[in-house]
């Protein structure tokens, strides 16, 4: 009998990077469809520009550093996620700058797929937000729903990308969209974040295909809900406006930038929720979700260290052992 000695892991799975990324892409399709329905064809063009330039930057950079040119769908996922947190009117070249930052600076410079410590789409969004603030906070009227008919709201500058909750940005006298419209996404905002309905469809698909665990999104969203409830704010608005669901489902569940263990994922979600609440209530920034996820991305290393599971039968080493 031939014995094969090989390093762990020994458990095989049919999951590959291609498969997982493909499933994430499929899960993002409903939100893309809704964004085209709400904002028109430019939403589709912007998404295609982002996905295409992310793929091009990835292959160019890998050629530049003479690494194998394995192309998997992950840059397309990054590009689409980035497009989802941009406003529909953003000039294409700014989106391309964002793709460069996401793929080259945040992902490839730190070692490529699985090595980046921060979510590329989120950092790219923050850089664009700080660089082109006026373009990044220009919100158009949606094509559908009551806001389209409203005469008064020339600039429903209400909702920010992965960002401010509507109620915090609404001018006095502007009408708050109804819950159903918020849920379906018929209000101003970034491309993919407005329609919680479509995002939750994607969430269900990802959970059913076992791509993500439910812990992080649930912990994240319920922390925000509980916080809003305690402070007496409008819970529905806090959950359904801004980029909470997009961030919680697609960005706080990224494999390489979030904790591994279930406890870690839970801490990550709660932490994101608390930071979001703090930013929404106490800061004058029209930002919340993206900074929350970025800060927790940075803390992921420590969360992982803290929640490292104890091997069966292992005895915890005393502190003095380190000094020997």
């Amino acid at each position: 009998m031939k014995l094969i000695v090989e390093p762990t892991p020994h458990i095989r799975s049919s999951n590959t990077t291609d498969k997982i990324m493909g499933r994430v892409l499929i899960a993002l399709v409903p939100a893309l469809v809704m964004s085209v329905y709400i904002f028109g064809m430019r939403a589709l063009y912007l998404s295609i520009v982002c996905m295409g330039s992310c793929i091009i930057f990835e292959s160019l950079f890998r050629r530049f550093i003479r690494k194998d040119k394995e192309i998997d769908p992950s840059p397309a996922v990054t590009g689409l996620l980035l497009a989802f947190c941009l406003p529909v009117t953003l000039p294409y070249y700014m989106a391309i700058i964002g793709c460069f930052i996401a793929i080259v600076v945040v992902k490839q410079l730190f070692g490529g797929l699985g090595q980046n410590f921060a979510n590329p789409a989120i950092v790219a969004r923050i850089v664009l937000m700080l660089s082109f603030t006026s373009e990044m906070t220009y919100w158009v009227k949606p094509n559908v729903g009551s806001a389209a008919d409203a005469v008064s709201s020339a600039t429903p500058n209400a909702v920010d990308g992965l960002t401010a909750a509507t109620p915090l940005m609404l001018e006095a006298g502007e009408q708050v969209p109804g819950m159903w419209e918020l849920f379906m996404g018929y209000h101003g905002g970034s491309l993919g974040e407005t329609s919680e309905f479509a995002l939750l469809l994607g969430f269900a698909f990802l959970v059913l295909t076992r791509v993500i665990r439910v812990v992080t999104p649930i912990a994240f969203i319920s922390t925000v809900a509980v916080g809003a409830l305690i402070t007496g704010a409008d819970v529905g608005l806090h959950l359904l406006s801004g980029g909470l669901v997009l961030g919680a489902v697609f960005m706080a569940t990224d494999y390489s930038t979030t904790p591994v263990s279930l406890t870690g994922k839970f801490i990550f979600g709660v932490g994101c929720g608390i930071i979001t609440l703090i930013i929404r209530f106490f800061s004058d920034m029209p930002e919340g979700i993206s900074y929350a996820i970025l800060i927790m991305n940075i803390l992921t290393f420590y969360i992982d260290k803290f929640t490292f599971p104890k091997p069966f039968g292992a005895v915890r080493e005393g502190r003095n052992d380190d000094e020997k």
């Binding site: 070249y93 700014m94 700058i97 600076v105 850089v127 700080l130 660089s131 082109f132 603030t133 373009e135």
Partner: protein, 217 residues
């Protein structure tokens, strides 16, 4: 002669205080948001560096080893005050723009490093050349950083409006953009020099005594 030239030029590129020894990060990051301020601070530092190097090289026999650091800092702070007052009198705009960082030249670690590792062990002319080279290297680094950040972040260069192809990326004149720009410039310089930062000689390193690499050489 070639030795003197070498002392002068090594600070400019080969052992550039910003790009290779990563000294003086604080003024580099804080003041490189515009090319004008960057060059202004670079030249002020250059003058203080040359003067302190010369004086300390002259006094190196007189200064007792035990109290050398207080003596050095007194001399450096004296020249810094001199530069500060000159700028306040003749270039008040630059004085206001540089703000606290002008006084902080007194505790700039580039000057300390050069005084400690070079001027206190070498002759007057060599020390002056070393100060000139390191000061020029610092000014050059600040100039490069300031140029990149000002052109990308504000669309201007030395306050002149440049033809705008795109919106300026405001992040480059923010602190975060400073770190981005510094990282990329260092990467580019290393690539260009075909050299890794840890290959520089240990002779001038302030940590030589403590560092294990110093013992190997």
């Amino acid at each position: 002669m070639s030795k003197k030239v070498k002392i002068l030029t090594k600070g400019i590129i080969k052992e550039n205080p910003v790009f290779f020894t990563l000294l003086g990060m604080c003024p580099t990051l804080a003041l490189s948001s515009s090319a004008q301020n960057a060059v202004g601070l670079g030249i002020a530092t250059l003058i203080v560096l040359i003067c302190s190097n010369v004086i300390i090289s002259l006094l190196k026999k007189l200064i007792p080893a035990q109290v050398r650091l207080p003596c050095y800092i007194t001399i450096i702070a004296g020249f810094t005050t001199f530069i500060t007052l000159l700028l306040k009198a003749f270039l008040p705009d630059l004085y206001n723009a540089l703000g606290i960082f002008l006084s902080l030249i007194a505790c700039n670690c580039i000057i300390f490093a050069r005084v400690e590792v070079f001027a206190s062990k070498n002759g007057v002319l060599d020390s002056a050349l070393d100060g000139l080279g390191m000061g020029l290297g610092f000014t050059l680094a600040l100039f490069i950083m300031g140029t990149i950040r000002e052109i990308l972040g504000a669309g201007t260069w030395f306050g002149l409006q440049l033809p705008q192809l795109t919106e300026p990326m405001t992040i480059f004149i923010m602190p975060a953009g400073g770190f981005f720009a510094l990282g990329f410039v260092i990467a580019a310089v290393n690539k260009f020099m075909k050299k890794r930062p840890h290959n520089i000689s240990c002779d001038n390193c302030p940590h030589k005594a403590m560092c294990r690499r110093g013992e190997d050489d």
